[in-house]
């Protein structure tokens, strides 16, 4: 009798496992891996989506791996909503789009001007899409044409775009890299406005993409643009600069040298006096002197300090210009001053959060910069030039 019971138990267990299992089973070759997609406005108020799908049959047998063969194709579809368009993409092909490896989403600037919150709804809710994918705004005529631009970095366009964003943080720090979870946070937070990287055609190579600056948002609507140099100072205020170069100008205003940022940290210190708020931004830069094109000497401590002094003033001036211009032209607090005030001066914030955008326009911002040069690369002093 005991043996019978064990046998029955075993059969029951087997049935349970096999009948309830396999619910998530997906054969690899039936998946269309989407690495990035773009959202445009289509005809008749529809959305027009283009998906970059990895080309499964590219590279026929096991030895073929030359990167020049087109590795991805673009699948287009229309739909009344984003989800509708995604499902419509399967029309007739039988393949189900697989989004877990999607890295880049490009939104056209026309759509962004109308508001991106409704676009992000499906992206957030679907279980396959990652929160760490990168959002971008296309400054070209449409987002789709940017998705189709090929970069020499990688044969899959979206991977190339992601790589460009990541490398930029280390080498240039002029383009913000905003991932989906960060965008969600900034949209929800009253004290900061969203910025997203701008992407357009590369002016030198027509067929390649290039990031050209940042886009400023009020709530979820696109309101303004910054070019790459201004974006650098914007990122500086946001404490998001990890590298890059600052160009020094000499007395005449011509470029006289450049230093490489090794470490940059910005502290935003808010102060509330008599019901009025003030911001003091303290920037500390540790740099190395990379290039001196003018006649300046940098051999002794005093000379280096003189250069540091000059660079401090120049950076401070540029920062203040950028901050003031944004304050005047747009009423969006992209720097996150409101966020800092809400943390440090909650009483003031509770009273004034609603009118923050107006207050932001006339907010006094004091910038102070401290530069420390740790080294001058391989040269101890100015390279001598003589006949």
């Amino acid at each position: 009798m005991k043996k019978k019971k064990i046998l029955l138990l075993l059969m029951a267990a087997l049935l349970v496992i096999t009948l309830s299992g396999c619910f998530d089973y997906r054969e690899l070759n039936l998946l269309d891996i989407v690495t990035g997609f773009s959202i445009d406005r289509g005809t008749q108020g529809n959305y027009h989506l283009s998906f970059e799908v990895v080309n499964e049959s590219g590279g026929e047998s096991s030895g073929d791996s030359d990167g020049n063969s087109s590795e991805s194709t673009v699948v287009e579809s229309d739909g009344k909503t984003i989800f509708d368009a995604v499902r419509n993409a399967e029309k007739g092909s039988g393949y189900k789009l697989y989004f877990s490896h999607c890295e880049a989403i490009i939104i056209s600037h026309q759509l962004a001007s109308a508001g991106i919150a409704p676009l992000l709804s499906w992206i957030n809710q679907d279980n396959e899409l990652r929160l760490s994918l990168n959002l971008m705004i296309s400054k070209a005529n449409s987002a789709e044409e940017v998705l189709k631009l090929k970069s020499p970095l990688n044969s899959i366009n979206s991977t190339a775009l992601t790589q460009m964003l990541q490398d930029d943080a280390q080498t240039l720090s002029k383009i913000p890299q905003i991932q989906l979870y960060e965008a969600n946070e900034e949209l929800a937070d009253e004290g900061v406005s969203l910025i997203l990287p701008l992407i357009d055609h590369d002016p030198n190579q027509k067929k390649a993409p290039q990031f050209t600056g940042s886009a400023l948002f009020k709530k979820d609507r696109l309101v303004g643009y910054l070019n790459a140099d201004e974006s650098q100072y914007l990122l500086m205020t946001r404490n998001a600069v990890k590298g890059g170069i600052i160009v020094l100008r000499d007395q005449q205003g011509n470029p006289g040298g450049s230093f490489e940022i090794k470490r940059l940290s910005t502290q935003i210190v808010p102060r509330v006096q008599k019901g009025k708020a003030e911001i003091a931004a303290k920037v500390q830069i540790e740099n190395s002197l990379g290039e001196v094109m003018s006649n300046k000497r940098f051999g002794t401590q005093g000379e280096i300090q003189a250069i540091e002094q000059e660079s401090e003033e120049q950076v401070k001036a540029s920062l203040q210009t950028v901050i003031h211009s944004i304050q005047e032209k747009y009423d969006v607090d992209v720097f996150g001053f409101g966020r800092t005030i809400s943390t440090h001066e909650p009483a003031y914030w509770a009273k004034n959060a609603a009118k923050w955008d107006t207050i932001f326009k006339t907010l006094p911002v004091q910038v102070s910069v401290e530069v420390k040069t740790s080294d001058s690369a391989l040269a101890k002093s100015k390279i001598p030039v003589s006949d």
């Binding site: 096999t18 396999c22 690899l28 998946l31």
Partner: protein
């Protein structure tokens, strides 16, 4: 049921008739009649089996002295004693009147000597048959260390053991197994170190052995094992005398059997599957690396197909994008689902391995060409299987060969994990591993938990588990022996 034992009578004719009747139909029984030169009333008959006897011994120790000895005036009954004590040169003499014992002696190569007028016979040691020379066992090779291995003769094996343990604490007890084969076995242990309970339990279980034959020690091990339905062994086996000596010194009990070079050792812990004698003869650093590699290999051999199937079919989001893309490309056009691909390739690998064991050397080259190149490469080119699957099965197979002793269990467990992973992905694999762990935790070998020393949770006990601690650190006997105390002076070198 007490049987009357058949005994000899005083009459030589009757005795010889009895013996010949028992061996009816056996043409190798030789009866040698002879008589004493001086006194022809002393008739003798010597029985032996042809070619099991060393002829020189027989002639010089048995025939020659008895023929030439001047017996004088002694009574007939004394003849046997006189022969035993004064005449025969044989090194071992036994006197008996039981026919059973005489028959046993004849079939094992001894000579039975009967004298007219005596109701007892002598059993003289004249054994001399060919045995295999001592060679290193095929599947327990070491890089450095002794290269002796047991052979099929029990006495030679016991000798090899005794040479390494020159102490009176080494006890050897004979037992006989199998009604028809009457195979001689021997239980060995070290008196002061052995776990008495294990010894008692072993004797208990051996008493239950009920087959009529014991051709190999495996017949016994299936009777005495703790988990008879389990693929994981709870009784260890080895062919090397140095390994047996080491195990005895740790408090285990060894069981020898005549006719087989394999020796059983109990209790058998799980970690012993991964210990090799090399570990103790090489520097502890390299030995530890080897041990860790074997453990990693065991883990890989179990898990690789299961994890691959789980990741590729259920959890594609975990894999890095470039890897996923190349695997997807490789799977284009392959007709079988991943699971069946895996099972197919694993079966092919096992077939190749099994063939490799049994094939004659002359077709070895052809087999490796056919197996590796033709089947593997062509299967990929013909798109029957995908290239990543070949890599997965290759890793699985090779790491499986790394631990040859546990490969039976690994094949079964690997298959189960693969099926579980194919049904519910990584969940299935994790449940499978948890189930395996629970199963192992529940197993014990002769009272000692199979996962000790890990399960004792004492640091000193872990000295030989994942790494091999230096010899000056291993100061205690294992915890299950009777004396888990210091076996060396202190734990430091000086």
């Amino acid at each position: 049921m007490a049987q009357q034992k058949a005994v000899l009578t005083f009459d030589l004719q009757e005795n010889t008739k009895k013996i010949k009747a028992l061996f009816q139909g056996d043409a190798t029984l030789i009866a040698r009649y002879f008589e004493n030169r001086a006194d022809s009333s002393i008739q003798c008959c010597a029985f032996y089996t042809d070619s099991m006897v060393e002829n020189k011994l027989f002639n010089e120790d048995v025939i020659q002295p008895i023929q030439q000895y001047p017996f004088g005036r002694r009574g007939a009954a004394d003849f046997i004693d006189v022969i035993a004590k004064c005449i025969t040169l044989s090194d071992s003499v036994d006197k008996t009147n039981e026919i059973d014992k005489l028959v046993q002696a004849i079939v094992y190569g001894d000579t039975v000597l009967m004298v007219s007028g005596c109701n007892e016979a002598l059993i003289l040691n004249t054994k001399g048959w060919l045995i295999r020379s001592i060679a290193e066992p095929e599947d327990e090779k070491v890089l450095r260390g002794p290269r002796e291995g047991f052979n099929e003769s029990l006495l030679v094996n016991l000798t090899m053991l005794r040479r390494r343990l020159r102490t009176t604490e080494l006890k050897m007890q004979y037992r006989v197994f199998g009604r028809r084969t009457q195979t001689q076995g021997c239980i060995c242990y070290l008196e002061g170190v052995v776990d008495k309970e294990v010894l008692a339990e072993l004797e208990n279980r051996l008493n239950k052995f009920s087959l009529d034959s014991a051709l190999d020690v495996n017949y016994l091990s299936e009777f005495i094992g703790d988990a008879p339905f389990s693929p994981i062994k709870t009784v260890g086996s080895t062919e090397r005398p140095d390994v047996v000596a080491a195990k005895l010194l740790e408090g285990r009990v060894a069981l020898f059997l005549d006719g087989t070079p394999v020796v059983l050792t109990v209790p058998h812990l799980f970690i012993e599957h991964f210990q090799s004698p090399d570990d103790y003869y090489l520097n502890y650093f390299f030995a530890s690396i080897g041990r860790v590699l074997r453990l990693i290999g065991f883990f890989l051999s179990l898990s690789t197909p299961a994890i691959y199937v789980a990741l590729v079919n259920f959890h594609q989001e975990i894999m890095p994008t470039p890897l996923l893309i190349s695997v997807a490309k490789a799977r284009q056009g392959v007709p079988l689902p991943t699971v069946f691909e895996a099972i197919l390739m694993m079966t092919v690998f096992e077939i190749l391995r099994e063939t490799g064991i049994r094939m004659p050397n002359s077709i070895g080259q052809a087999l490796s060409i056919v197996g590796a190149i033709v089947i593997g490469q062509s299967a990929v080119s013909a798109r029957l299987v995908s290239a990543p699957m070949i890599i997965v099965v290759g890793i699985t197979g090779i790491t499986g060969l790394l631990n040859a002793r546990i490969k039976g269990a690994v094949i079964i467990i690997r298959f189960i994990l693969l099926i579980l992973a194919a049904i519910i992905g990584l969940y299935g694999y994790m449940f499978g591993m948890m189930g395996l762990l629970l199963y192992l935790l529940n197993m014990s070998s002769f009272g000692v938990p199979v996962l000790s020393p890990l399960s004792t949770a004492k640091l000193q006990e872990q000295r030989d588990l994942f790494v091999r601690a230096p010899w000056w650190f291993m100061i205690r006997h294992p915890h299950f022996s009777d004396q888990p105390k210091e076996r060396a002076k202190n734990g430091k070198r000086s």
